[in-house]
């Protein structure tokens, strides 16, 4: 008897964790999204699926925009993160941990504070633009704050370590003898990279994409601080539905929709790349 129950006891902590912090909130959110009413007289369960239809219809633009921003952010991050991670892993020598610390140091400061600081740097008459404008290099009405590049720039900046670190870990684990073997077999440096190093680093890239695409496309701080009404992301819509309009069902429905889109995207992506490899790397 004890023997048969043992595996269940072993998964108990994990299961409880999942139940408490994922299944339960999800359940509450799902049920709330199907209710009708208002904050004063309360919400009644009416299985009102129309909320989803209306929500997606009204805010399709913001959902699509968020996914596009998330995608661009992720691609830019891979392009930036790979060389950095590569350099630290293969050229860092004794100072690897110092470089990593330097990389993470700015992130010891609050996320919101750092984002707001960018406003001061990039604002219309700020440190960067004022000299360029007075030198006549830029037209007087040129601005960065409030544009899509400003928001995407903020997203890239804020989530970059989450891309660098997994790639670094994957690269770091590559056995130098594998690279030597490739060279012994007359591979050119380009071939060593494309045939040996890059494929071995892919699981890191995969993990990095997961850790950055999801938070980037559901982020609302960067768009709120660095953007304008033309860059509104779905996170901002949900935030304002909860707190300004107190329209809890619509907010829940939009959250649920966003999560469903992201989950489907991730699973498709995992299939395409082969999930098993990732799990193996994670388990190593």
């Amino acid at each position: 008897m004890k023997r048969r129950l043992a595996p269940y006891f072993l998964i108990l902590p994990g299961g409880l964790w999942l139940l408490l912090f994922f299944v339960l909130p999800m359940g509450i959110m799902l049920s709330l999204s199907l209710m009708e009413g208002d904050v004063v007289s309360g919400y009644q369960m009416t299985f009102h699926w129309q909320t989803y239809v209306d929500g997606i219809q009204n805010y399709r633009e913001q959902i699509v925009r968020s996914l596009i921003y998330g995608l661009i952010t992720t691609v830019v991050q891979i392009i930036l993160a790979f060389p950095i991670a590569y350099w630290i892993a293969f050229r860092g020598g004794r100072h690897k941990s110092t470089y990593l610390l330097l990389l993470l140091l700015p992130f010891f400061v609050s996320f919101v504070l750092r984002t707001i600081s960018w406003r001061f740097v990039l604002t219309d008459e700020g440190l960067l633009l004022a000299p360029l404008k007075s030198a006549g290099l830029l037209p007087a009405d040129f601005h960065i704050i409030g544009t899509a590049p400003a928001v995407i720039g903020g997203l890239v900046y804020n989530f970059l370590p989450f891309m660098i670190l997994p790639i670094y870990v994957a690269l770091e684990r590559i056995d130098p003898r594998v690279v030597e073997a490739a060279k012994d077999l007359y591979a050119t440096p380009v071939q060593v990279f494309t045939r040996v190093i890059f494929p071995l680093a892919l699981p890191g890239v995969f993990a990095g994409v997961l850790m950055t695409f999801v938070p980037a496309s559901s982020d609302y701080v960067n768009s709120a601080v660095l953007g304008s009404s033309g860059t509104t992301m779905i996170g901002q819509v949900i935030q304002s539905q909860y707190l300004t309009s107190q329209n809890y069902p619509t907010a829940s429905a939009l959250s649920f929709t966003l999560m469903a889109i992201l989950l489907i995207g991730i699973f498709t992506y995992a299939r395409a790349l082969g999930t098993e490899d990732v799990l193996k790397v994670a388990a190593r």
């Binding site: 004063v40 001061f120 909860y242």
Partner: protein
């Protein structure tokens, strides 16, 4: 550049007098955005799906006042929830109150935006638990109504409010959002109008239509609050928000959509920083903020109440129904209506005081003072933003009052797309 009062000649200012007098609500909304979400989540987890109230506006039962106040006595302390920089940080008024009554006051600047504040205290109030505050300063508008309809506010015993009775201005004794001041008495009022930078805009700004001027493309700021935004959309078309219909809202929304291409952003409290940094040149603005920005940063921004009208709002002192020290609370509320106290408060915060008799007192303070203090106090006493004239009041409108939640949601769905897309 010398700091200037937006309406009067430049008074040079004593830095000591103005210590801490920075923009009142600077970034408070940004900060609360972050913590506010968790509050909303808490509201949900605490099964916030149950409502507390009814949709029809409540007139309290005749014996409600007696029932609430019966058996309540002075406890010697009071906790007050207010907005940031709404009082001199040295709190001289509160110290004097403690000396006079023996009641210690715990004054906290915890309210930064009405929606999140309601979301934060709603679970405790629904459960009949104290929220830790005996006075809350809340703005008239959607959430004020929600507080009333949910029966979250204690009916005030006006026999305990002699100063209020004697000193409050006539218009502050019969507010449309709380007829008869059953649940609230005003703390301060303010005006939503237009602020602009005369260094960048050479022509004088006088009317709402100036916010639609294509010459200011990309340099116009508007508020992201549907009540504030909608009011300007209606007033520019000559619609009285108070009497507006759904069709009017639609017309106002169309008018605001025309403006979208020249609007830089729909701002929260950060509009004042955007004005300061040159991100916008002309913006919707709150009266006291502009004054405080000028004095704290030596700016020269102008604030105008537009010809078509501005919005008058009032922050009100209320007692939550679960307050633990209501007697001390109502004593403190009445104390703020002492003319001397009202005068020193107004001298510091520069919003509209509900006590008109404070004006001669501030003038008297000015005549007793010397040098820079004298000029400063004289400017405060003369400022139409602290003591509006009848003609000024006539130009001002309140936020649209909603009969029920359905109407309010309708309003939201009409104006929200302007802000969010």
């Amino acid at each position: 550049m010398k700091p200037q009062h937006p309406f009067t000649s430049p008074p040079p200012l004593d830095p000591a007098l103005l210590r801490g007098l920075t923009a009142r609500r600077l970034s408070r909304r940004d900060a609360l955005r972050i913590s506010g979400l968790s509050a909303a989540a808490m509201a949900l987890a605490a099964c916030g799906v149950k409502g507390q109230g009814n949709q029809t506006p409540t007139t309290p039962a005749a014996d409600a006042v007696a029932k609430f106040w019966q058996g309540k006595s002075k406890n010697g302390k009071v906790d007050m929830a207010s907005w940031p920089l709404y009082m001199d940080p040295e709190k001289p008024e509160l110290k004097a109150f403690t000396q006079k009554t023996g009641i210690t006051v715990n004054y906290q600047e915890v309210i930064e935006e009405m929606g999140p504040w309601f979301a934060k205290v709603q679970p405790q109030l629904s459960a009949g638990q104290p929220i830790g505050y005996d006075i809350m300063v809340i703005t008239n508008g959607v959430q004020f109504k929600q507080f009333v309809q949910s029966n979250f506010l204690a009916p005030l015993d006006h026999s305990k409010l002699p100063n209020y009775k004697a000193n409050a201005g006539a218009s502050y004794k019969n507010e449309t959002f709380d007829p008869g001041n059953v649940y609230s008495i005003p703390w301060q009022s303010g005006i939503t109008g237009i602020a602009y930078d005369p260094n960048r805009i050479s022509r004088p700004i006088t009317k709402l239509a100036d916010l639609w001027d294509p010459a200011f493309k990309g340099k116009v700021g508007m508020f992201n609050d549907p009540a504030e935004l909608g009011n300007f959309g209606m007033m520019v078309l000559g619609i009285d928000p108070d009497k507006s219909t759904e069709a009017d809202w639609q017309r106002a929304a169309d008018k605001l959509k025309e403006q979208k291409s020249i609007v830089r952003k729909y701002y929260d409290q950060s509009y004042i920083d955007a004005l300061g940094s040159g991100e916008v040149w002309i913006t919707q603005a709150w009266s006291g903020d502009v004054f405080q920005k000028n004095v704290s940063e030596g700016k020269n921004f102008k604030f105008v109440v537009p010809e078509e009208g501005g919005t008058l709002w009032t922050d009100n002192m209320t007692i939550p129904i679960t307050a633990q020290n209501p007697v001390d609370a109502i004593m403190l509320m009445d104390y703020f209506y002492d003319v001397e106290v009202a005068a020193t408060l107004a001298e510091y915060i520069n919003y509209i005081t509900p006590v008109p008799a404070a004006k001669p007192l501030i003038e008297q303070h000015a005549s007793e003072a010397s040098g820079e203090d004298k000029d400063y106090l004289a400017a405060v006493a003369e400022s139409p933003l602290v003591f509006p004239t009848e003609a000024d009041y006539a130009k001002l409108n309140y936020y649209r009052d909603f009969a029920n939640a359905a109407e309010q949601q309708k309003y939201q769905t009409i104006f929200e797309p302007i802000i969010l897309s």
